[in-house]
């Protein structure tokens, strides 16, 4: 039963992880391992570095995020990721879609 539940959570996560990453980057620039750590703070969204880095590469290829090496306030230079204007627009429409899905599900599941 536990593993079935894990599979559900994993499916949910797969659907929303891009939204989560774009959402985190909308707040401030972040570097790769920072994103992994930040997501680890949300048990429902925690994904491994092996998933985060290929996702970042894919989002960058799509032009939704940009990256560059920058001096870090502490420690050596790091590769930081930021949202591009196209990414900000994608985030806005994804956020709308999420709100609508969430509201509809709330009506169905929350009421029963």
């Amino acid at each position: 039963m536990q593993s079935e539940q894990e599979a559900w959570v994993s499916q949910f996560r797969k659907g929303v992880i891009e939204l989560a990453v774009l959402g985190l980057l909308a707040g401030e620039r972040r570097y790769g391992s920072q994103l992994v750590d930040d997501l680890a703070g949300f048990p429902g969204l925690a994904i491994s570095a092996g998933t985060v880095y290929p996702l970042l590469a894919r989002l960058k290829k799509a032009g939704l995020i940009d990256s560059s090496w920058q001096e870090s306030p502490v420690g050596p230079p790091r590769k930081y990721y930021v949202l591009t204007p196209a990414g900000a627009r994608a985030l806005a429409s994804m956020r709308e879609a999420w709100r609508s899905v969430s509201a509809d599900l709330g009506t169905i599941v929350g009421a029963s």
Partner: protein
């Protein structure tokens, strides 16, 4: 629109950079689609949105994800730092091979995203440095045969049983020609001046060929049976391409970092 030359230069750059990442078949298909969607009025942002709408392209759908082996594919397989798996399917689809990139990341030697595209920023000087490996091995094999030619027996081993006992022999001339041929060809290929992922694949392959041939030379011209030769041979063949790729990846990382820090000392956009 008719061709990409009608596009604004900055839009053309975005589209070409996107297509360059794809395999040839997919790129050709998408070129047609993009030509329909883009025109001379299209802004960079619109082009980015159109590309983003296409979504992720995973492998090549037409061939079921299988891609023709190539030098760049060889480098991407042996060095894929974003993938945490150490053992990955072989570039030829048969068996498994080591992902040295994953080992380097686990050892804390490099970041998974050190370069946007591994080896894309490696300077020519680093490739020349890598070419020194097969060149030195070729020179060592040449010198070895020259120095020991007279004292070597007329026939040298060409095949060994699992326990290291020679079970097949060939003439001294044929053995030397094989070892010299492989090492010299490998050294020559390493100086062809290829760069990027393709150059990295060639650097790794020429290093493997050079080490394999040089180790064979030592093995077959040894005065006595070398009990340690088997494990040492395997370790050398495994370690050399890993070291070469790591050296190139570090050089590419440093070049990308320097360029970024120079262009945007404080701000990203």
């Amino acid at each position: 629109m008719a061709t990409f030359t009608d596009l604004r230069p900055e839009v053309r750059a975005v589209v070409q950079a996107y297509l360059a990442e794809l395999d040839r078949g997919t790129a050709a298909e998408l070129t047609g689609y993009l030509m329909e969607r883009l025109d001379a009025e299209t802004s960079v942002e619109e082009a980015r949105r159109i590309i983003a709408d296409i979504g992720p392209i995973e492998g090549d759908s037409a061939t079921g994800g299988w891609r023709l082996p190539s030098w760049s594919r060889f480098a991407e397989t042996l060095w894929d730092p974003r993938n945490p798996k150490v053992m990955v399917p072989n570039v030829f689809g048969l068996g498994w091979t080591v992902n040295f990139g994953a080992i380097a990341v686990k050892a804390g030697l490099i970041e998974p995203d050190a370069e946007d595209v591994p080896f894309a920023n490696v300077p020519a000087s680093a490739f020349r440095g890598a070419a020194v490996v097969p060149t030195a091995l070729a020179a060592a094999v040449v010198l070895h045969y020259l120095a020991r030619w007279d004292e070597l027996p007329e026939h040298l081993p060409s095949h060994w049983a699992w326990d290291g006992t020679p079970d097949r022999f060939q003439s001294k001339g044929a053995a030397a020609a094989t070892d010299l041929g492989i090492t010299v060809l490998a050294a020559a290929a390493a100086w062809l001046g290829r760069r990027g992922p393709r150059g990295a694949g060639i650097a790794a392959a020429t290093a493997v060929a050079g080490v394999a041939a040089a180790a064979t030379t030592v093995w077959r011209t040894a005065d006595r049976r070398l009990g340690w030769a088997g494990p040492a041979f395997a370790a050398a063949v495994a370690a050399v391409p890993g070291s070469v790729l790591y050296g190139l990846a570090r050089a590419g990382r440093d070049a990308e970092m320097q360029a970024d820090l120079r262009n945007n000392p404080t701000q990203i956009m």
